[in-house]
């Protein structure tokens, strides 16, 4: 053992180093814990959470053209799209859109398939529900997105 090592051991420098580290960590600025309902976490941009059916913010009309590509892309076949031909404009119009979240694995293939960016997996993560039926979202829920209680600090 060299002299330096021996001195370190006798003077307990390593222990003091550890003590100083824990002492510095007491600074309230270092605290990493988030107080979840009061303080909402910032989810990564690429996070794939609750699906949303986008609407045109100006006209409040859905962007969905009822092409059924998402339902075809879905490996779980959990999307059901129904539509109706509008006789006047000769266009397909969306009637219902069902999305079974209980079977979804958030692979994101549906949003990739969507040609109009109508279906999107958002950063909302509060998907808990009291019933199994509640996990099957209809068109209205998909357009609104989940609405958790907001707590203020």
């Amino acid at each position: 053992m060299t002299m330096k090592k021996l001195l370190r051991k006798v003077l307990l420098l390593d222990l003091l180093q550890g003590l100083s580290l824990t002492f510095r960590y007491q600074d309230p600025k270092e605290i990493y814990t988030e107080q979840y309902p009061l303080q909402r976490p910032e989810v990564a941009e690429r996070y794939r959470g609750a699906p949303r059916l986008n609407v045109n913010p100006d006209t409040n009309e859905t962007l969905c053209i009822a092409c059924d590509l998402c339902a075809l892309a879905c490996p779980e076949h959990l999307i059901v799209v129904t539509s109706e031909r509008n006789e006047k404009t000769r266009r397909k119009e969306l009637t219902t859109f069902t999305y079974d979240l209980s079977r979804c694995m958030f692979c994101g293939l549906c949003e990739d398939a969507c040609p109009t960016d109508a279906l999107e997996l958002t950063q909302d993560f509060e998907l808990a529900n009291y019933t199994r039926e509640g996990a099957i979202w209809d068109r209205q829920t998909l357009e609104q997105g989940p609405q958790p209680t907001v707590y203020k600090k």
């Binding site: 550890g18 003590l19 605290i31 203020k152």
Partner: protein
Amino acid sequence: MPQWLQSVVDYVTKSNNTPGWYADPVASAIWALIYIILIFTGVSIAVIAMNWLERKILAHMQVRLGPMRVGPHGLLQPIADALKLLIKEDIMPDQADKVVFWLAPVTIVITAFTVYIVIPFGPTHAVTDMNIGLLFMLGVSSIGVLGIIMAGWASNSHYPLMGSLRSSAQMVSYEIAMGMAVVSAVLMTSFKGGGNFFRQIYGTGGASVGTLSMIGIVRAQEAQQTWFLFKFFPLGLIAFFIFAVAMVAETNRAPFDLPEAESELVAGFHTEYSGFRWSLFFLAEYAAMIAVSSIAVTLWLGGWMRPFASLHGPNVEIPNYWSGGAIDLAFALVPALTFFVLALFAFIGTVRMPKHRAFRVQTIGLAGFALALGFIGLVLLEPHVRDRVQDIFWFSLKVAVFMYMYIWYRGTFPRYRFDQLMHLGWKFMIPTGIAVLILTAALGLGS
């Protein structure tokens, strides 16, 4: 004040400024009782506060928040915990030795609290002044080991038995090192004329050699105008260091908390205990921590003396650079200022409280807390109270530093293995302790 009450007060307060030596036995008994009640409530409150502080400080050291929900910043958490413990079902293992199982926690609590009767919180603030005070303390606190063995044996279960054997082995081993350190401090009380010097200063008391009386030990530091921590540098420091390590091992705290090795022994000797009986163990553990910290403070950190205290005896005055009217007054104002600062923090907390309806009770509670702290600060400004209480303040402050160190160690150091613990105790602490003792004696020959 009515006549009879006045006469009772006069009767009781006829003291000669030494605890346990009042005008007559009845007055002594009354004062002893008052101090016992005060100390019991004080220590219980300190344990509750310590419970909260430990969880909070430990959490901050680990970059967590700790309790936040019950009361502002979890201030009421210990009360919630205590309630939970008291309401819990009282479980006694079927195969347990019923009487001993019940006696074990009681034994530990009694020993932990008995120790307090000789602790001097101030020159006149103690239940009694025994001439064998230190020996009494070490002796009584050693009986705590018996309680641990009883708990382990009576549970009639593997883990508690192994845990109790482990912790008793640990406590017995470290008691030797602790004893060596203590003896070297006691030896220091005999220097510079020892007891003769006391007699010269105070007229009475003190043998011609050193003293084991807790008050006498602080008086000796007062007379020698140094804390024993700095005496014969670094000898006093090394002895103090040995004691500081041994006292952590004695109280079975991290990094020496081997009896509570979860992976091997579940919770050690109190595995089978729950509810109220478990809370007695908890109370005793923290009371014992405060007690050994007070021994360390009394022996090496000058007990109730403020930093840079000068000597004010009835017959002798030894002023020093840090004494004199203004400086004495400045030091005397520190206790009140401390409470004002605490009150300020509580007040800032009240102002920054959310204005939501759900927080109203908490806000009112915190405001009341701030007011209480401020009121204590105001009371401490009053000259009579100030002079009587500042000894207690300095003593408590020094003990509080030790309590913080306990938490700090727990937040920093990984646990020792059992053989490493024994290695440290027997092969390092005890020889160093003996060497320090011999060197202290040799250096003491000259003075």
